[in-house]
Symmetry: C2
Subunit: 434 residues, 2 copies
């Protein structure tokens, strides 16, 4: 057996470049390019973003042709329809990519922002200045728009990026990266700012996420399982999108028309996303008047309602909720509804069962709202607004980078700032330590 | 063998409480206390800080008595003199602890600070508000002042803390924590805000740093080896003090009197600390006039000078530097000196060999200074000032929490803000997602 293994290794070496070494080379090139990019001003970066946007439209034929190859192969491999849909590009989707890049160009440059400034008693001037992280690695699945969004966000924030997309989109990503490279060259920037990993072997992910001497941040975008396995392997810091088990609490003093609008929107406007509501809590004094209305609306929207005993007494057609339902992110047409005795009980339920993502209270009582906003330990808390509004775009942060439920570095909707760090800059006139 | 192992376990269980379960209990209590503390205002926290300061002075006799037991045991166990010194309390050192707490009370409260605020196009008001992390675990060695500093910093920033100090200081830490508990009770706060782990078994550290459901942050304070092993075990995020391999670059246009003052101070003012200089780079045009002066000063200060060939030609009594010297944090009376051909070469040397901690340039050329400050990728960069000035106290951040060389969440001198996170607070009037 050992000799057989050895032979295989030799064969691979002689027939193709070693992917481990090739990956290391790509990363070293990207690191060098990141040092150039860190010194580039806002104007040149914005020009490059607009250049990529234009080139995507100009070379749309070629991109769609290469995408067609991936889509055909995906059909032959019997990919799930949802996956095939995410993989498929259209002229409209390419226009959306270009538009997203134009919007990034219009955002303020985070690099160089002076976060704090003071003159110290010894006369030195101290500044805390925002600077790029350096080199980012993105690991994602089939959606080709992530390739363009990531390249754009990293470029805008002064970071080089190594892209490792799914194997289903390899031809598409190759075509997109070729367009990006040409536009970067035209803008006078090193193309190695954006590197596509041309291999999709899973074992190379381990290489990538342990290159902590070169890579400053890993961002996995994908399912919970993928994110967890990367967190476990990585020695590079990881920033990831969190699980969303979000709740809306309808207080005893809620405007019930508003509560109806919010509780419906939070659940049904889009169900498979992290900021959709999974649990509805209703104060016992509002239960009799509110529950029949909202349960009927859910039923009309084909959402299965699972409730505790009090809910089932107040409204018809409600299935009995089990303990596990309070801890489940349904991501689909099911809602768990509970009658709650007090504001304190609602807060305790959310802190215990929720995922500290996004939670809302509907009430006319300002003191109750303040208490909820203060005591619920979530990345975003809302008063009289739908959980679905917790979004980078609606928060004014530009293109979506996901929503973090971790507490260090980034919490909640992530924008360009989360792709930066800071640096202390001291200007003195001969100061020393006494 | 298996039966023997079983017996031992049984024996431990019957003679003392199981330390694993006892630790879990302490942590759960601290987590509950953290939720109370998060809602406490600045005034009550400051009153508690001042109360602890007063109680430390008032109960100094008892603290010194318990510390005496630890010091005697340390002498009997032949602890290193430096360790014994760090362990030993005196009335003066207790006064310093009290003073540090009074200074914390005078600092602005980070909790509740509105970091960003905007009104979105849909009319909702968005705030990004600073909030406590929750529960912090501190793992440290023999210095009892870390017990009081950590308790104070965490209290001020609204966090509960679990303290796991070294076994050499167990009696002292017990006495200090008893004083803190009484003062917290008197201030109307739950004593479980500050929990001392009464066990020092190493295996309990693994328990502590993997309690990621309860603990929000682990801060190890100790040697490189200890910090690395905690980083490897932890599933809780870790914030740690980094290694300092710092350089001073004397440019061709430096004021040589200023350069002498800074290069001497950075090396000799205190040698065993992370922001002390280890490498001196001198531009070739300044070498002939500057090197003889600074080398003589180092020699007078009993600092061994290791230089490259050009240095040894310019000054007498210089040992030949080997490649490894450029990568060594001496933390003592040795300095590595190199003659450099250009500013670019100096920047490249620092980025390649340094630890991205603290680096300085001495020059009268503003453009050269700006280039160095921009292109050197370190937590702090200084122009015409000593690396020793990179310090939380001198930067106005209050009591020392260490200096981070990581890029995520905290970079450089860490203050109270690094013990906080943020939360998005949205106030609406019925907004939903369209």
């Amino acid at each position: 057996m050992p000799s057989r293994k050895k032979k295989t290794v030799k064969k691979v070496r002689s027939s193709a470049p070693d992917p481990h070494r090739e990956l290391a080379r790509l990363v070293v090139e990207a690191k060098a390019a990141s040092q150039v990019l860190a010194q580039v001003g806002a104007e040149a970066k914005n020009r490059a973003l607009l250049g990529i946007a234009e080139a995507l439209l100009h070379r749309q034929e070629d991109i769609l042709f290469k995408n067609g190859i991936d889509v055909e192969a995906g059909k032959a491999a019997k990919l799930a329809p949802a996956l095939l849909d995410r993989l498929t590009l259209t002229p409209r989707r390419i226009q959306d990519m270009a538009q997203s890049l134009r919007e990034m160009a219009a955002l303020p440059d985070p690099v160089g922002e002076i976060v704090e400034e003071s003159r110290r008693p010894n006369g030195m001037i101290l500044q805390k200045v925002r600077v790029p992280l350096g080199l980012v690695a993105m690991i994602y699945e089939a959606r080709p728009n992530v390739t363009v969004d990531s390249a754009g966000l990293c470029l805008k924030s002064g970071n080089a990026v190594v892209l490792r997309g799914g194997k289903e989109a390899l031809n598409t990503n190759g075509a997109l990266t070729a367009v990006i490279h040409d536009a970067l060259r035209e803008a006078g920037l090193p193309p190695a700012i954006v590197q596509l990993v041309p291999f999709t072997d899973r074992e190379l992910i381990r290489d990538l996420v342990t290159m902590d001497q070169a890579i400053d941040l890993v961002i996995p975008r994908g399912g919970e399982e993928m994110v967890r396995s990367i967190r476990e392997m990585a020695t590079v810091p990881v920033l990831s999108h969190g699980r969303g088990l979000c709740a809306v609490y309808v207080d005893k003093d809620a405007d019930l028309d508003m509560a109806e609008k919010i509780a419906l929107n939070a659940k049904v406007q889009r169900m498979g996303v992290c900021n959709a509501m999974e649990t509805l809590l209703v104060h016992k004094d509002a239960a009799a008047s509110f529950l029949p209305r909202i349960v009927r609306l859910y039923q009309e929207a084909k959402v299965e309602v699972r409730g505790d005993e009090a809910v089932r007494r107040a409204a018809a057609g409600v299935r009995s909720a089990v303990e596990k339902d309070w801890d489940t992110e349904f991501l689909g047409p099911i809602v768990a509804v509970k009658v709650i005795g007090s504001l304190d009980e609602a807060i305790a339920h959310v802190n215990r069962h929720g995922s500290h993502h996004t939670d809302a209270i509907v009430t006319r009582d300002a003191a109750a709202a303040d208490k909820f906003l203060k005591e619920v330990d979530s990345a975003a808390v809302l008063h009289n607004a739908s959980t679905r509004l917790h979004d980078g775009g609606l928060f004014g942060l530009g293109a979506e980078m996901g929503i973090s439920t971790q507490k260090l570095h980034a919490r909640g909707a992530m924008g360009l700032k989360e792709l930066t760090t800071t640096k202390y800059v001291v200007r003195g006139s001969g100061q020393v330590r006494e």
